[in-house]
């Protein structure tokens, strides 16, 4: 761990100002990921700007019938909030599938969006990693890649190869719900649709997201449509708790007269960001439940998936999980 200075601003403009005036500074909220990364010398901020005193810790209704989740509300408080439980049970389920109770009590919603990959090579300075050290190569692609991505990877050029996954559960649900992230920064406020928040590795695997340096996430807006009647979150992992998803699936359906009228499917554990394909979700719209072809949807979602040896099993596993999740969400099967 390096030597760093510390600031604890009391309002948002001061916090944003801190980052604008200190190159190499980083925001810290719950610290559940950042501190681990600092201990391993993966992150080396020279200044920590503690934002826990900012008043971003409420959950409020929005004018258009949605819900605004303050960036500093903890994962636990979000999951157990009555409005989230009743209107966005998918989000509650996803959050509670993640981490451990202790971590959820510390981790914040804003921080969760910036959670970094669990790739072993990213964490280990003795091995190459393009995400940690641009241009150094990728240890995982020919190494132990059991937890790695099968979709949207970058593997053509050694210096930009990256098959890391985004580890969040919460983000998979936010993706399915079409959440919108509100940020503020030196150039004012803006909103980022969730689909554009995280990015694929492409030519710049060191970039996880599209937030600009110095910008601060203030809230996450959930649209009114919460899929509260038909939803599920399936997380497949190596143990019952405190393990990252090998594959996870968030499904939200709207069903009228036994017919699907809207469908969302987001996958976790398979790509550098929560994986969605609205055009494939559309295949389900209009289908009758009793005849719905969930297998074709699963096949279509995994089209182009590529395994790297240890993680090749994820392709079949993801398909099975999608089929199960769709059945569960549609109440054709009990939740597992």
């Amino acid at each position: 761990m390096n030597s760093f200075s510390y600031a604890r601003p009391s309002d948002i403009s001061m916090a944003v100002g801190e980052l604008a005036t200190h190159e190499g500074a980083k925001f810290i909220a719950g610290g559940t990921n950042l501190l681990d990364l600092m201990k391993e010398n993966v992150e080396r901020p020279n200044r920590l700007v503690d934002i826990n005193r900012l008043t971003l810790n409420t959950i409020d209704d929005t004018e258009d019938g949605g819900l605004r989740l303050g960036a500093l509300v903890t994962n636990a408080d979000t999951a157990y909030h009555p409005a989230v439980e009743s209107r966005y049970p998918l989000l509650s389920r996803a959050i509670l599938a993640g981490a451990s109770a202790q971590l959820r009590n510390m981790a914040t919603n804003g921080g969760n969006l910036f959670q970094r990959t669990r790739c072993y090579y990213f964490y280990d300075l003795a091995t190459p990693c393009n995400k940690r050290e641009p241009g150094s190569g990728c240890g995982a692609v020919h190494g132990y890649n059991r937890i790695h991505a099968i979709l949207g990877t970058s593997d053509q050029q050694p210096e930009t190869t990256c098959i890391a996954t985004h580890p969040s559960d919460l983000c998979v649900a936010l993706s399915a719900l079409d959440a919108v992230v509100r940020v503020t920064g030196p150039n004012g406020d803006r909103t980022i649709p969730f689909a554009d928040f995280h990015r694929l590795p492409g030519d710049e695997p060191w970039l996880d997201h599209t937030v600009q340096p110095g910008e601060l996430v203030t809230a996450i807006d959930l649209p009114a449509k919460g899929f509260s009647d038909y939803n599920t979150y399936i997380k497949i992992r190596d143990r019952q708790s405190y393990a990252f998803a090998l594959v996870s699936v968030a499904v939200g359906l709207e069903i009228e007269n036994n017919r699907i009228t809207d469908a969302r499917i987001a996958l976790g554990g398979v790509a550098h960001k929560p994986w969605r394909k609205p055009e494939i979700e559309a295949m389900l719209v209009g289908q009758n439940l009793s005849e719905a072809d969930f297998q074709s949807v699963a096949e279509a979602l995994l089209a182009g998936a590529k395994g790297y040896g240890h993680n090749t099993f994820k392709i079949e596993l993801a398909k099975r999980a999608i089929v199960r999740a769709l059945k569960q969400a549609a109440n054709l099967e009990p939740a597992s």
Binding site: T127, H142, Y144, R146, R239, S241, S336
Partner: protein
């Protein structure tokens, strides 16, 4: 007369542990304490060409950076570096020279005024290497397998017995045959407490060392020999150990580094390892096994072949008993057992809970299950049909063996009779249910040990021995034994351990501590009793003047006449005649080898497991398990049960989750954190049940106890794999059984 032995006495150290009063090696304070931070090699083989510590040394508060370039001269010969558990070979010497022998090797120690500063300084040090080709993959190097070198360690770990009968012929003729290859990767112990040493630099250059170890005397021996310090100037103290599991059987490198720094700087130094560094020393070795079994059509086991190849380092031949169990458990007449090693560019493996035993039985007991299935016999029935009262390796009878009763009681508790034999026959929606079982065995060892018993002037009994309590309950059972032996109320008895100023005991391992130290405590208390009796006889108007030892009992802190309990003298009164001094006795317990060698001595278990497998996802859960143990006299059912449950949990871990995964590109274990190195969480564990079958053994040791440290784990992984087969019809021969193997 036993008032406490056999009773569920609460842990005598429990309150200290849960209130934080129990102190561990890294928690001891010293004036002017300096803090060390270990830098680990990033390559697995090669040479250090340059160490640039300039930037680190310039930081105010950084005291020194130690490496091979500036370390002091130390003992020359390998002999000096051999600890009590050193296998044959040339022990690893930290900072010896520029050579890197394995990934994660300690290559430098930064010492600073604070831990934070040492850690930061370490991040500024640049080390350059010249890399060489490394070999770390066991499965790619099986052609290099060779016999292990023998040494002192072979005494406790005998090589496989010579072949008996003619395996090849019998196997070819056998009506039913099974063959399979079984593999597992390395595993790391990962006790909760990280390895740490606090060296207190005393006046006159003496050292008081608080070390995480399973044997304070072993650390003392090592430090004394390596640094050339007389024994009397090195005191090692280790009263509490936050889990050991075998990792603490040998001194770890933080002890060497802390002592080196303390002596060079002439001040107190603490060195703690990080969780990542807990993956940079001994581990359970990756092993490849082949098992072939042949049986007659009616299920009589006729031929056994069990071959194992384990990894070891390039510098020591670590061995464990992997294949001998087949010859101990089954009476087949044609048996060939082999065990070989492949040296790789890794650190020397070290004993890890049930070393070799859980490895070998995970393969053997799966193969037995497979054979039973082929023959068409229930797996319990098959084992009863092939039961032996003798250890066929040694051709000796067992001193006791209530395994039949384990099968019977375990099966009954589990409800085994309701099992439908056909795989995939017990289903509930997507969930496939499977029931599997296996046998467990572990040798019941007994070593020499010493203990001191002291009756204080206040009439309290203080007993001590330099053993360890790695969480097993040693404090508690020794207190029970002492209290019963001298007829004292348990609250007046204090047992202490983990200090080289105490009488010598062996390292705590191999499940031998209860028998070994327990016997020493018993003898010491008996001898103290004799001494007190003699003193009582010399008291004025002693009622015992003409009484023989056989005619009295020790009861409720008194010596009483057996035939008239009203005739009594209190121990307090006896010690009162000693001129204000305590009365003490130090005794040695030595196993009765003449008698013991006529018998094979082992603890046995039968394990029954239920799993649920998600048919689509391959996820496996152990939903309940029963272990029935024949472990001789159970000193304390509560701590004993905890021991067995701990072993069962670890068996679930080994069966389903646990694995140190090495990337052979880098020769480095990659999942070196507890987020990625999976062991069970509470949510994984349910329905564990333990039965202690009644078993009397007058041979095994004076207490009739059999160690329970290993027996809880040995049969679990095989029982789980067998249950998975019953659930799915898939025979998985590679542990852990992660979901991808079942898709």
């Amino acid at each position: 007369m036993t008032k406490y032995i056999g009773k569920s006495i609460n842990r005598v150290d429990g309150v200290a542990k849960v209130t934080g009063k129990a102190k561990y090696a890294a928690e001891y304070k010293a004036a002017d304490l300096a803090h060390g931070w270990v830098i680990s090699s990033s390559i697995s083989k090669g040479k250090i060409t340059r160490i640039d510590a300039e930037a680190a040394l310039q930081l105010p508060g950084v005291i020194q950076v130690f490496s091979h370039e500036n370390r002091p001269g130390l003992a020359w010969f390998d002999m000096s570096y051999k600890d009590q558990d050193a296998p044959p070979g040339s022990p690893f010497r930290p900072l010896r020279d520029a050579t890197v022998k394995y990934s994660g090797q300690p290559v430098a120690l930064v010492v600073a005024e604070s831990l934070e500063l040492a850690r930061y300084a370490a991040s500024l040090i640049r080390i350059e290497y010249e890399e060489e080709e490394h070999e770390t993959a066991l499965e790619h190097n099986l052609h290099r397998a060779r016999e292990p070198k023998s040494g002192v360690a072979s005494l406790l770990k005998p090589p496989p017995p010579k072949p008996r009968g003619d395996f090849e012929k019998a196997f070819q003729r056998a009506a039913v045959q099974v063959s399979g290859t079984y593999v597992h990767s390395a595993e790391h112990h990962n006790p909760m407490e990280m390895f740490a040493t606090t060296v207190v630099y005393e006046k006159n250059d003496k050292l008081t060392i608080y070390d995480k170890t399973q044997g304070a005397p072993n650390s003392q021996l090592y430090v004394s020999q390596v640094f050339g310090i007389p024994f009397k100037d090195v005191r090692v103290i280790s009263p509490f150990v936050g889990g050991g599991f075998g990792a603490g059987l040998r001194p770890q490198y933080q002890l060497f580094l802390a002592v080196l720094a303390a002596r060079e700087l002439k001040r107190s130094v603490r060195v703690s390892l990080t969780r990542q560094q807990m993956f940079t020393f001994g581990h359970r070795p990756a092993t490849v096994q082949n098992v072939s079994l042949g049986a007659s059509a009616d299920g009589k086991l006729e031929a056994i072949r069990h071959d194992a190849v384990g990894e070891t380092s390039q510098f020591e031949d670590y061995t464990e008993i992997v294949v001998n169990w087949a010859g101990m458990l089954y009476p087949a007449q044609n048996v060939t057992l082999t065990y070989n090693l492949v040296p790789l560019d890794v650190y020397t493996p070290i004993d890890m809970r049930a070393p070799g035993g859980v490895t070998g039985l995970s393969a053997l007991e799966c193969a037995i299950d497979e054979l039973a299935h082929q023959v068409g016999l229930d797996p319990v029935e098959f084992r009863l049909k092939n039961y032996t009262e003798r250890d066929m390796n040694e051709d000796l009878p067992y001193s006791s063996k209530e395994l039949r009763e384990c099968f019977r009681q375990g099966a009954e508790r589990f409800g085994w009779a309701n099992r439908t034999p056909e795989p995939r026959s017990m289903r509930n929606g997507h969930t496939l249910v499977g029931w599997g079982m296996a046998t467990g065995i572990w040798e019941s060892m007994h070593m020499p040990a010493r203990a001191e018993a002291v009756l204080t002037v206040n009439g309290k009994l203080r007993v001590s021995s330099a053993t360890a309590d790695i969480g097993t309950g040693t404090y508690t059972i020794m207190t029970q034994i002492a209290a019963d032996t001298l007829g004292m109320p348990i609250e007046d008895v204090i047992f202490r351990l983990g200090d080289t100023d105490m009488p010598l005991a062996p390292i705590q391992g191999g499940s031998w501590t209860a028998a070994t130290v327990g016997s020493a405590v018993k003898v010491a208390c008996e001898d103290l009793g004799k001494k007190l009796f003699k003193m009582a006889q010399k008291m004025p108007h002693s009622p015992f003047a003409d009484v023989k030892l056989e005619e009295i009992v020790f009861e409720n802190a008194h010596i009483r006449l057996k035939k008239d309990s009203s005739v009594a003298v209190s121990l307090l009164d006896i010690v009162g005649t000693n001129g204000g001094r305590a009365v003490s006795e130090t005794s040695t317990s030595v196993p009765n080898m003449l008698e013991q060698r006529k018998y094979a001595r082992a603890v046995h278990s039968a394990v029954f497991v239920e799993v649920e497998v998600d048919e689509d996802f391959g996820t496996v859960r152990v939903t309940r398990a029963v272990t029935a143990v024949a472990g001789g006299q159970i000193l304390n059912p509560k701590t004993a049960r905890s021991q067995i449950i701990g072993g069962m949990v670890w068996g679930i871990s080994k069966g389903l989750e646990e694995e140190s995964v090495m990337d052979h590109q880098f020769g480095r274990f990659m999942n070196h954190s507890l987020a990625e190195y999976h062991v069970p969480v509470n949510a994984d564990i349910q329905g564990l049940d333990v039965i202690f079958v009644e078993e009397t053994d007058t041979i095994v040791n004076p207490l009739g106890v059999k160690g329970l440290g290993e027996i809880g784990i040995v049969g679990m992984p095989a029982a789980i794999a067998n249950a998975v087969f019953h659930a799915t019809g898939k025979r998985i021969r590679s542990l852990p059984i992660t979901l991808d193997k079942l898709l």
